[in-house]
Amino acid sequence: MPVSATTSLLIILAVAVTTFATRAVPFLIFPKGKPIPKTIEYLGKVLTPAVIGMLVVYCLKDTPVAAAPHGIPELIAVLAVVILHVWKRNNLLSIGAGTVLYMFLVQAVF
């Protein structure tokens, strides 16, 4: 261990408290029993689809588009997941098959 056990523990606690704090902010601002303003209610509803969209981009953020293989494995695998899901509407099938396809593409093809 590069630092003492006490320091290690303190670092973990600092990260834990900070992480929890970020997640708790909305619940501290709008505690139980206090009515939620219409504006926040609206934001809460429309924010989820926007965040999911952002998370898709977040997952693909380090895909090298300029260099080979130009993000082609990612593109094929994402398209496969979308088509499979629209067709069969089965979460596990779409995710499982998409992941296996992607692994095959990056390990054996590109």
Partner: protein, 236 residues
């Protein structure tokens, strides 16, 4: 305890994609932490107390002599700041959950947030128990993954390259599911466009927070239109 058994049983299938993803990125975290000289117990402790994917990856770098706590807190804030907004969509649901809500808030990772916001509670299950079951199972996968990584101290014996795509596929599937509901389409497009735009401007290391701010601004700017659409949806 009645009701929990059925809640866990019904919730489990929804968590399988997270199980796959968390097991493997958890293993990767355990290996990284072990390489710094920490045993599997430490990895488990961190996954138990912190519970953050990218946050824990980053945290591995904090264990060096001379690191300041201000630095630890600042860097953690930067990587996790997007979580500040997640609770806004769950205020109502969590506030109905009594003491359990503190664990729900603690467990609000990207993956759990997405499942909690988009999964319809099946018939015959109490909502609070079902949501709690999802959150608890997700964290257990993460802990088990980090323990395996810490014990193995090296990557799996088979070639797992590309397995992290399970997480991408999970979000793509949730995206498609949301898309089927027409009233989510405009916000979804706003999220994607803002993210791509901010990725170009700020780069992959720091585009998330600007994306959140820009999305919120655009969502407010289009509020009148979007609320009208939602009303039409309800009336039909």
């Amino acid at each position: 305890m009645t009701g929990y058994k059925i809640a866990f049983k019904k919730a489990f299938p929804y968590t399988i994609p997270v199980l796959t993803g968390y097991l493997f990125i958890g293993i990767a975290f355990g290996v990284m932490y072990a390489e710094k000289g920490y045993s599997a117990w430490w990895a488990v402790l961190m996954s138990l107390l912190v519970y953050a994917g990218s946050g824990q990856y980053l945290a591995v770098n904090f264990f060096v002599p001379g690191i300041s706590f201000a630095q630890v807190i600042f860097m953690t804030l930067m990587v996790n700041i997007r979580h500040v907004f997640y609770g806004l969509s769950l205020l109502d649901k969590f506030n109905k959950m009594g003491k359990k809500r503190w664990y729900m808030i603690f467990g609000l990772t990207d993956e759990t947030y997405s499942l909690l916001c988009t999964t319809k509670v099946p018939e015959g299950v109490e909502e609070d128990k079902f949501l709690f079951a999802i959150a608890l199972m997700d964290q257990s996968y993460w802990i088990i993954g980090s323990a395996i990584g810490g014990i193995l101290k090296s990557v799996l014996p088979f070639n797992a390259e590309g397995i992290e795509f399970a997480m991408t596929a999970l979000f793509v599937v949730i995206f498609v599911e949301q898309w089927m509901d027409a009233k989510n389409r405009v916000p979804a497009v706003i999220g994607v466009v803002c993210a791509v735009l901010c990725l170009q401007i700020f780069g992959s290391g720091s585009f998330v927070f600007p994306t959140m701010i820009l999305s919120i601004l655009v969502l407010f700017a289009t509020r009148k239109r979007l609320e009208k659409e939602r009303e039409v949806e309800v009336c039909q």
